[in-house]
Amino acid sequence: MIILELHQVEIDYCPDCKGIWLDTGELELLIEDETEKKRLLNSFKKQEHTKEKLYRCPVCNKKMDKVLLDDEGDPVMIDKCKKSHGLWFDKNELYLLLDKSNAGKDNKVLNLLNDMFNYETGTKGEGA
């Protein structure tokens, strides 16, 4: 995993699978809207049976839990470290989550992710 920095924001990124790692507390920093932040953080639901492959936490190397986020709309299934080291988002998952949440078009993080990985156009780089 490598670290990407753009406009003084750092993101842990896997160049092979294009996934993104957020340390505990970083997701909270990314969402600006307070009510949205609360709603999203309270929507974590652990999934016991899933076909998705279990990943290991890059910090403690223990198998992570699968959790559903934001089950009101289209839920996003992400990986959460059992020891709360952080969250793993597969390719595009973080963008989808922030895009869906009521952050709006002015969300700086969304724009940054867009800029960093070309999510919207997806033509130039490999990120999309």
């Binding site: 490598i2 960093m116 130039k124 780089g125």
Partner: protein
């Protein structure tokens, strides 16, 4: 100056003897408690063997052990050229026979220490937090303080003393834990079957000694280390001719609330400022490893006339209101007029909090040997040393970059 070093060597010797006696007493009583007939002698022999082994270890690799437990990493000039410059400058000023090895500890808490066997084999370790917080003049003050520890032969003394203290703590702990578990596992048999009252008394002494010996050793160690801090401050000013640099650095260090996680009770006296911050304890208590930092700053700021030892002693007496000599008499006979130079302490390094945090993190990655790739599109990629691929695709613009293997 030479006599100052002699005085320090003498003190090291007394401390060494004091700690050895303590260790032998501990060995004798623990041995007697375990076996009342020949245990005392066996205990002393075992203590002597442990002492010998540990002294060998501390002589040849004591500083390596201390650096390792502090998680300090040796760095090249590329990682922090300014630090290398300042150390080189102080090496020349203090006339050290060899350049100390330079280590950086990856911690945001600002602190520093010096270690080594003698001035030819020495090392200076500073934390990443210290480097990101201080400007050049302040860093020079801290490095001068550490160089003084090397010059005054404090490093050997501190390295030995901390390993000795570690041994005493270790033996006591093993004995006390052993006692605890054997009493759990039905140890009553052995205590009632033989010995009698005399054995009971020896047992009590052994327990008391294993509780008290680490405390005594710590007090002894700390008492001398406190005085050495003043002396190193005084020598640092003599080297830099700029008391405000060190004063301002100490002020910044005192103002930080970051905790140095790798510091322990044994390594604490090595640092420029006590890394173990405990709440609700009086700063000048017997157990403190360092003189109160605010007092040190006050003394440094009181030095208006010059940068010689006698000026430091004068400032010390002014601040403390006592005539107790902190500098040995031989250091005060030198009346050479060393002028204080002008500097820029307190200025610079005031960037926005985010930028300075980023600089600190980049420095820590640098110490960990990360490879920094700057893509022309503006994206910065930081690649860990164990990265498996040969090239990385910039996720922003798609350019290929080679990684350093």
């Amino acid at each position: 100056m030479w006599e100052l070093i002699q005085a320090n060597k003498r003190k090291s010797f007394f401390l060494f003897i004091g700690m050895t006696i303590l260790l032998l007493l501990l060995g004798y009583f623990i041995g007697s408690a375990v076996n009342p007939y020949s245990g005392g002698i066996t205990g002393i022999v075992i203590a002597l063997i442990i002492l010998f082994i540990l002294n060998m270890i501390s002589h040849f690799s004591g500083s390596k052990i201390l650096l390792a437990v502090s998680n300090a990493k040796e760095v090249t000039k590329k990682v922090h050229p300014q630090l290398f410059n300042v150390v080189e400058e102080m090496r020349i000023a203090s006339n050290l026979p060899a350049m100390p090895k330079i280590y950086i500890i990856n911690s945001p808490a600002p602190n520093a220490f010096a270690t080594g066997r003698n001035p030819k084999n020495s090392a200076i370790a500073v934390t990443a937090g210290l480097l990101s917080m201080l400007n050049r003049d302040e860093l020079q003050g801290v490095v001068a303080h550490e160089t003084s520890h090397i010059l005054n032969r404090d490093i050997r003394f501190m390295t030995y003393a901390s390993i000795m203290l570690g041994t005493i703590v270790l033996i006591s702990e093993v004995f006390l834990r052993g006692m605890f578990y054997s009493s759990l596992a039905g140890g009553r048999r052995s205590s009632s079957s033989r010995g009698g009252q005399g054995q009971l008394i020896i047992m009590i002494i052994a327990i008391a000694l294993s509780i008290l010996a680490p405390l005594f050793a710590t007090l002894l160690y700390f008492a001398i280390s406190r005085k050495r801090e003043y002396l190193a401050d005084a020598s640092a000013v003599r080297l830099t001719r700029y008391p405000e640099g060190l004063a301002s650095a100490l002020e910044k260090i005192a103002g930080s609330h970051e905790e140095l996680k790798t510091a322990t009770k044994v390594t604490a006296p090595l640092y420029i400022n006590n890394p173990l911050k405990r709440k609700g304890r009086k700063a000048s208590s017997l157990q403190s490893t360092h003189p109160p930092i605010h007092e040190r700053i006050k003394i440094l700021r009181n030095m208006a006339h010059g940068a010689n030892f006698s000026d430091y002693q004068e400032a010390f007496s002014n601040v403390k209101g006592s005539v107790k000599p902190i500098i040995p008499a031989s250091g005060l006979t030198d009346h050479e007029d060393i002028q204080i130079r002008k500097g820029e302490a307190g200025k610079g390094k005031i960037k926005n909090a985010r930028q300075s945090k980023r600089n600190l993190e980049d420095l820590m990655l640098n110490v960990d040997r990360y490879d920094f790739i700057n893509c022309v599109c503006g994206l910065k990629m930081k690649v860990p040393p164990g990265y498996s691929g040969n090239e990385i695709l910039c996720p922003r613009c798609g350019r290929k970059h080679k990684t350093i293997k």
